[in-house]
Symmetry: C2
Subunit: 184 residues, 2 copies
């Protein structure tokens, strides 16, 4: 039979490689975090992050090129350049917080001084969560990969798929098996 080595280059069908192209760079997330924290200028990033000038220059240019930061000289002092998060940049907030919460859960004990809170009640936010379409919080065991034609139906109850994977046994949640090759 033919070679079934179907490179899971469906991997390239997923958003992850694209995201990592920008955010996989060594300092990108730290710069992003500094931006979320209200830093806007070259020398600010430089001193707060302890990054080398050339690398910072390069990373900022990269983030700008990818539309995550906006680069604009200040009106009052045209030497100063403001780097500001775009909407695309702000959309990275869940990813950054999730990483951060993970690091916090498994890192050494940390006493945080400024705490990130919900503005409404000033209580610390909860964990970044995977939600179902209707807002239930999902864990890894609730997830599963399925072919588009086997998707559930919202209201009219036409569930036509035999359950292949057990809930916890061979939890093939996310097990990708469909065929598709990109290279040879």
């Amino acid at each position: 039979m033919g070679d079934l080595r179907e490179p899971l280059n469906e991997l390239t069908d997923c958003g992850l490689p694209g995201a990592l192209e920008v955010m996989g760079e060594r300092w990108s997330f730290m710069i992003l975090r500094a931006s979320f924290n209200g830093l806007h200028h070259f020398e600010e990033f430089l001193t707060e992050l302890g990054i080398a000038r050339n690398i910072l220059s390069n990373r900022l240019a990269n983030l700008v090129a990818h539309g995550i930061l906006n680069r604009e000289p200040c009106a009052d002092d045209k030497r100063r350049i403001e780097y500001r998060l775009t909407e695309k940049g702000f959309d990275l907030l869940p990813a950054m917080l999730a990483l951060r919460q993970w690091g916090q859960k498994y890192g050494v004990e940390i006493t945080e001084n400024p705490v990130l809170v919900d503005e409404v009640d000033r209580l610390p936010i909860g964990p970044v969560s995977i939600l179902s379409h209707d807002g239930r919080i999902l864990g890894p065991e609730d997830l599963r990969l399925t072919e588009p034609e086997n998707l559930g139906v919202r209201a009219d109850g036409t569930t036509a798929v035999p359950g292949k994977f057990g809930k916890n046994g061979n939890v093939a949640h996310l097990a990708g098996t469909s065929a598709r090759a990109v290279n040879g």
Copy 2:
């Protein structure tokens, strides 16, 4: 006094650098994703990811050293080594999905196949979200950095003291760097 800006060491008080120490490496997230997808062996990762042997070896060792993967020779064939996600590894799922969803939102058109669904109703999951302590979905504009002594008080009268994250749905808290606000 007056300048509330705190220096670099505050940055190291946040979970992000710790998380990036492992997951900031070039292939870590892709290997993690392959693991989520049910791959367990060296040669599987090798062919599916198209990564170099030495790099894969190195990254796997790194992920094992950081407790994200478990490394165990198979009982029946002691040449074969099984790499399996630990709980710590599974806890990276929200971060990975958030990144992936972001990449998907802003990347080139992608037809996701297979689709990640909620096992209960087989409908595609919703976006990874930042939740308040009581489950409301928060956006960047709902967030604020605050000093611990200015935290709100919960309905039951207990103070929300920042601590580590519990298993699920516990109170979260994220340190900020400077005394600047997160919101725009």
